[in-house]
Amino acid sequence: MKYETQKIALAYFAAALAIFAVQIAGGLLAGWVYVAPNTLSELLPFNIIRMLHTNSLVVWLLLGFFGAAYFLVPEETEREIHSPRLAYLQLAILLIGTLGVVVTYVFNLFEGNWLLGKEGREFIEQPVWVKIGIVVAALIFLYNITMTLLKGRKTAISNILILGLWGLALLFLFAFYNPDNLSLDKQYWWYIVHLWVEGVWELIMASILAYLMLKLTGVDREVVEKWLYIIVAAALFSGILGTGHHYYWIGTPGYWQWIGSIFSSLEVVPFFAMMAFAFVMVWKGRRDHPNKAALLWSLGCATLAFFGAGVWGFLHTLHGVNYYTHGTQITAAHGHLAFYGAYVCLNIAIFTYAMPILRGRDPYNQVLNMAAFWLMSGGMAFMTFTLTFAGTVQTHMQRVLGENYMVVQDQLDIFYWMRFGSGVAVAIGVLMLIYALAFPRREVVSPEPTVAAE
């Protein structure tokens, strides 16, 4: 660790991993409700479990991004973070907000109160006071990081990371605008939900991936930067108007069907480019970095993001297809693999790379960490397939044959059981991963190469 203030990242990563565990517990419970629908239906209804699962995902990913920024910005700018105290204050605000959200959701406190009650818009259900807290925390973060950047060396990696984080914070402001007209409500709602994950988050993803490739493969910065610019250009070119793929059936004019179909088809391009980038860098790189686990997560991230976001996204993005598949389990399949590949794996890659450095030691527990990668990724892939099959059957029975929603759900039971099984595998993988990152132990398999006698 070259800069003392990089240590801030450790607190963010620890908080992120704790909330990750909560998210997976929520996911397991939600998966169980699919096979035993009356579980906790009075105490903790499914819609609340689902809210906890999705909200905690976003919160821990954001904490991971903030942590990643605090870790890599000092190195890129060659400066200490402007104010470590503000960085910890920001974390405290975010954690208090998270706690407030969980308590408000679970006990359904302050129902209907404009300031304290939950707002009810999917994914941005947070009470207004928490939203204000998020904005304050974001402002602190942007101030702190931007001041650091302005004082120090400016690189493409840190510039694009900061651009992405600024975009993330500014787009969140649409959470405060809630028009009465439901079509308009949804139209602006997607400015957050879509323009985050298919816009500015891709900038964050590309820059963190570029940083990891720079460190892990030793390829020239100049080469990495050229790729980075191309990826970012492709992401924004396709992603911004690609928002149109959410405007097919919400009451927006019909030309969105063509704008959305054409531009969002091109959203595959940046994800393909990121995958190509990662593999080409490893191919060209001369450095044999000891942190193999971080490299595995980086390559896994680029590959699974291409399949989850790119291929599974394209699967149902054309409006002629989406007319039938909209809101079925096909969407759930895409959502799970896309978030896992693009953003979960990315965060774990930077955690795996940074944690040993932050704790001042050589890479540790790599075998366990890599086993966790395969268990988690295998589980997520299996879940994606079962949900895709469930969605295919559902689309046909419900949308083509026109059968009743709940009748069709009964027919999907087998898939939901398999999905629960894959969820258990993922949960075990997550426990292994958290253990591997948190508790340094001796390597299970010796890292010394086995060399044949010459």
Binding site: V223, Y229, F237, P253, S261, I262, L266, K284, R286
Partner: protein, 182 residues
């Protein structure tokens, strides 16, 4: 590690070519979709096409191609060190872009007066999307041409004219497919 590649030989910056390829993919996909939907209703598409003002579009084709030639000429002039003439050629190219837009706006105004909107027929959905999206690029191109006339380094002019050629190339594809194809 040196990383000389064929991309380094591209005129202008690599990024302008990333943009050009992306634009061509979008317009290509739009035209392909137009032709695919046309198969479902050839008679309706032909009838709708008759409402278009073909002569104006023909004139606009000449205007835009001439403008492209001026922009290309400007690059040669600049490379030969004749700075002021190069700038004049770029300004003339931009002016022709403005002429294109004047004709285009009159065309749209005529459609509006006849009560033809984007949802009158699927033909017009594509007509407005494709020509409207193209017209937005003409406006952007005029600004780019004026920018490179002001900051007239050779790589800038290369990038600006490459973008402008993309705009006239797209028009040369849109014109026959939307206005003429029977």
């Amino acid at each position: 590690m040196s990383d000389a590649s064929v991309f380094d030989e591209l005129p202008g910056d690599l990024m302008i070519w990333v943009l050009i390829v992306s634009e061509l993919l979008v317009f290509g996909a739009g035209l392909a979709a137009f032709l695919a939907v046309r198969i479902t209703d050839p008679a309706g598409f032909a009838a709708a096409q008759d409402a278009l003002y073909r002569t104006g579009a023909g004139v606009n084709t000449m205007v835009l191609v001439t403008s492209g030639a001026l922009a290309a000429w400007a690059l040669r002039l600049c490379e030969a060190g004749r700075r002021m003439r190069a700038r004049a050629a770029l300004a003339a190219a931009a002016a022709l872009g403005v002429v294109f837009m004047v004709v285009k706006v009159r065309e749209y105004a005529g459609k509006a007066a006849e009560g033809i909107a984007w949802d009158t027929h699927p033909f017009f959905t594509f007509y407005y999307l494709l020509t409207g999206f193209h017209a937005a690029h003409v406006v952007a191109g005029v600004i780019v041409l004026l920018l490179v006339a002001w900051k007239d380094a050779v790589p800038n002019i290369e990038a600006g004219t490459a973008f402008w050629h993309m705009v006239d190339l797209v028009w040369v594809l849109l014109f026959p497919v939307i206005y003429l194809l029977r």
